[in-house]
Symmetry: D2
Subunit: 401 residues, 4 copies
């Protein structure tokens, strides 16, 4: 891929727009993430009071397919050349749902063109790209051009509530964190080779794809920083059927890490694509000296909470059904107990992004936060590559007398 | 403590006993484990067909207290000198429930005296002691004197069932194992200092006490061996109130490890005494390519099982209530759905031990297996001490342009 | 309210429409149900292949409010007079989300005008109205004008799967059914009076509002018919604060019934608006001689299933996460484990309705089915009013000797 | 069977016993309940401080079998004639575990002989017998001879805690109670005929056997009284294979009832022996205006509790693991999280019975309470027999126009 333009080549400023006119939005990509983001754009204004905007154009490589997707997903037009879209005066926001290896080039160009940018996670496939994007974002922000990375699980109402409870001190001193993200779509050793299993296209395997979410949640929930990392990676099935026979899988199937946090807490992170029966299970356990939080993404409307300050006789893990008007984001939806789905996290993300952009404020999480996660992932890889912590054991240590 | 007698000093043989007369049993220790073992001895013959035996004598240091305990727990007599008990011809079995630092001395002496020995886990506080005990056990076994280590969770019916299912191939190739043992009795930073928090008396903290159980389960369930270990230890609260002010906690509060297994599977192990709200939660997750097993000791009558060979449409985690006559050990208890408790695992342990002893067979798990777990724990400590896998992270990696 | 036009006054036929042009849709009502239906219309074509249609007009009483709602919810126009909308040639479908007491008048007029009709449950507030609507629907259907009642929970994927499993015989002979619908929004005795608590506006209380859903599910899942009913109603809080002081609550807070089914099975139904902590919990338990189904609407992505034909040793309730492409409706949504919400049941409902209408087939459930549920509810009321089954007990039956 | 001796024939008084000597105990019956009671007698003094007692004699019909059972279960002797046992001066307590149709004769005789009596539930098979027993108990109590009925589930720690919470007002005004007792041992239509399925030996089916427990819990937990009953009974499989071909099942397989309580609360009760997959599931749900209690006997160490007085944002059902020293009965057992089993409820029952007897106080629940439950069961049968509440429905109510 081409080198991203250096951010200081140009002084960006927000695209001109009369204060009262709607924000024009372009989205790039119409696969899984493009579908999910489009759904959020199409619906956000039906539920939330958001600044006026228009779903202007959906961008993709295949003209016919992107035109069909645009029609289905609520976009006024489609286009195949993202560069020309960046030149349009009626586009103020670019939502990047293209694969990770394209993020840096598009994002830096969009920011340079004065477009506010939302980019899917992971920020980029390499640290170098992520650093370039972050530098571009910092430059642009100084000019009022905003940017954000799409860690959408920050907008799960139950997790937003968890963050509030922790920030209010309801867990006391947090010490022990357990984060796991378990899937099983590679459990079948005959599942075919894909771009996600090659290092050159995917960057890494479960690590970048799902450990990134788990690590971001640790940082988000605790408002803490990682100071030290130990990690391990493994590929359980190292050859898979490709178009022309077996091909090498060059990324990890599973990863394990422990993270030391600045506060003194320790977090374990464990992710796998081989956890048979676990479909999309991001499990979080936050243990403090005054309470505990539990969460599982497969039941995302629920939050487990134990308040250790009530008498021991009545302590227990509570299942809070996070569906009350009192809960984050929920006043917009349905009456209590009418649960929401995974896709709604994207709707909340667009709400927060639009609100910040219209207010001229920096939305969160920033590219710096995305880069920070990338550094942690890189440290896991570095630790894993060193293998320095592994102690060998030998069988039969005792001989009979 | 004194050095255990060298096992080759003496050729032990089972204490003389007419074939038809009952086995005489002595138990050493009457605290938590002594109470639990006594309960098992008192009840085992009411539920299972076991060889005839008699609860002869309970041994403890305090004459008055041990006499009271003996009366309460069903022992015919009490005694304060375990050495004299080993000299009695009417004692054929010695059940060691004394603290870990006493195991080696008593066990080697008992084996040398031709007594069959059951010893609580961990086998010993040091590798050297454990090796001496294991050598003694091997020598004794050759003479028909049996020995066993008390990993009682092997006798949880649900886990015995899990082992059967795995051995039958119901999980296919096991790849990913997650084992955690979470407690919270040290969650309060003001909880007082005890002998369990000093290295010289306890050997280690959560590692030896509860990671030993978790690791034994991994080995038991999979019938596998550990070849490589990476570990980490941490003490969250490093000073606690003692009799004369704050004292240093010299063992771990929590431990993390990954274990490479000979089969190629990888197991993570995570234990903590600071997991607020988790009371005695040994959680096991075994992921194979054909199925998955889940277990939690706090609901020990239940086994989670997912069979990935049924059509996807109807796959799901099953909660098997392990309370049917078809289940291990259950034919002896109550009708279906009338659940059993934690204590019953000891009853099953005594059943299996007595049956093997009477048959002249080696009961399982052996001291070798106990020593093997000790080696794994030692490797975790070694890896943790090296800290060689830790990668440091530095804040603020990006400066504004 | 005015008497609905007699259905035989007019011979309806589907509104003229060139085969290739889209179906024009009008929705009446923009409160809770109007919002939910609008959301479904706005999104159905983004996920499913459905016949072409256009969200033409949203109808409501307040001109300003309905205009705002139309803009928010994706309707091209708004209107305040539903009668004039029925006269429009470009409207082919009328979706009635107005309160129950308006259903009969609008539905019969719309059918008479040759419009396909979808009407929210309950079909009507009285049996007489429901019968008139059903007669109108039968007449219209003969002319190719379709109609359907909106029991949206039939489109919960887990319940659609449950029906499939039952129809395939996986439960064997179904005998015992337990259906409950528990909410708690009236648990607070100070909660204010509303139109839902007056018999003249609401018809009944928990009975019509939520027992209707529970009963429809029993019929839907089993494909069975009710032959006999016993019931009981109760109002726990019979006066509530109104605008001018306390007012009488004239509907039930809770209802209990047993239903004899034609197959010989017996279903219990229990509903309440006072079940503190239960937010929107429609619980279903279907017990057959070969298996069992469990469901709870608060976790609507999950289905409990026990297959009693597998060996007893491995029987247990499975939690099927109904989120696989193999499951009903799911191929349209997200990858496995990315759960959907309550609102999606309406999207599925519109999909099925549109598909049937375009194919010239009668969608299900029909008005006949809605009327059938009304008859069952009326029988519960009749049985409850009779109180003939109540046996009085007297205290202190035994005197001391 | 013979008519029980009229209680006024004789003035009982407690069997002579020097204050310091142990209470002599006889148990009658050694099947399921005899085994469970024996287990409690054998172990109670190992865990609780109880008055001194001795397991004197176990009584049964078959001399060889009862001798073997006595040896296994910890009884000093066995006997075959319960009448002669009642004549022994060294017997002070009679524990009746014989079948229900023998209760009245033995209990009245034992009370007349001045023996304290514990009798298994149900009190008797007929109201007449239960009344005679209760009259005898009242007479005896006046002389210091105690009696108790064995509703052992009152001694489940979680339910004892539930009662405490309710008595403290933690649920506020209780309105809605749901009680169900579900088993599946008759789910197989080929399961053979037994004495439990004949009215003359069993009295009733699921009603007396398990609805009695459910109803007793409603009364126990709420401290309330039943004023009005409506009920229904059904036999799903009315013929089963006997020794000589198919025989008629003359008791109910399932029962449904609603109970009006003196407080104004309403309880539903539903029991079944055909609930496939439910092994021994006594489920209780108690809904008050300030909170809710949930319980399931298959997980008897857990209590669900929702406190509706905490802010809505953090309300949720708690799972209290009832295994803390602060919980009823638990200080005697194991450290937190080491769960107990079903059998321990009997140990608690013996503890409470012995303590009351030694103190000269009336243990609870009394025969009056047992009789009260019998009256409620009889009212269910009466209501069910009347069938007066059943409303017939007719198919096809609407004809096409």
């Amino acid at each position: 891929m081409t080198t991203p333009a250096h951010p200081s080549d140009h002084t960006p400023s927000p695209a001109e727009r009369p204060a009262s006119s709607p924000l024009g939005v372009a989205a790039i990509g119409y696969a899984f993430m493009g579908k999910a983001h489009s759904n959020a754009w199409r619906n956000v204004a039906s539920f939330f009071d958001v600044p006026a905007f228009e779903q202007k154009v959906l961008v993709g490589r295949d003209a016919a397919q992107v035109a069909e997707a645009a029609a289905k997903y609520g976009w006024a037009e489609s286009a195949t050349d993202w560069r020309s879209v960046l030149e349009r005066d009626d586009i103020h926001i670019v939502d990047i749902c293209a694969p990770g290896w394209m993020h840096a080039e598009i994002a830096t160009a969009a920011l340079a063109a004065g477009k506010h940018v939302l980019v899917e996670k992971p920020l980029a496939n390499t640290i170098a790209e992520a650093e370039a994007m972050t530098a571009a974002a910092i430059t642009a922000r100084a000019q009022g051009v905003q940017s954000m990375i799409g860690f959408n699980y920050r907008r799960v109402p139950a997790l937003a509530l968890a963050r509030e409870l922790i920030a209010e001190g309801r867990l006391g001193t947090v010490r022990h964190v357990r984060a796991a993200y378990l899937q099983d779509w590679l459990s079948d050793a005959e599942a075919p080779m894909t771009w996600r299993l090659r290092k050159e296209t995917a960057g890494s395997g479960a690590l970048g794809d799902i450990a990134s979410h788990a690590i971001d949640q640790v940082l988000f929930l605790l408002g803490d920083a990682v100071t030290e990392v130990s990690g391990r990676l493994h590929t359980f099935v190292d050859r898979r059927p490709g178009a022309d026979g077996l091909e090498d899988v060059t990324v990890d199937d599973a990863a394990w890490a422990t993270l030391t946090l600045a506060s003194g807490a320790i977090a374990s992170v464990e992710v796998s694509r081989m956890a048979t029966g676990q479909k999309n299970s991001l499990k979080l356990e936050i243990y403090g000296d005054k309470g505990t939080i539990l969460f599982d993404l497969e039941a995302l409307n629920e939050l487990g909470f134990l308040d250790a300050t009530v008498p021991v006789r009545e302590q227990g893990f509570r299942r809070i059904l996070v569906n009350e008007p009192e809960h984050p984001y929920l006043e917009a939806w349905w009456p209590q107990g009418h649960i929401i789905g995974w896709e709604h996290t994207f709707t909340h993300q667009i709400r927060d992004f639009l609100t910040a952009v219209a207010a001229g404020e920096a939305p969160s999480p920033s590219f710096e936060e995305g880069l920070n996660v990338q550094h942690i992932l890189a440290a896991v890889e570095e630790s894993a590559a060193a293998k320095s912590s592994l102690i060998q054991l030998h069988a039969n240590p005792i001989e009979g007398a």
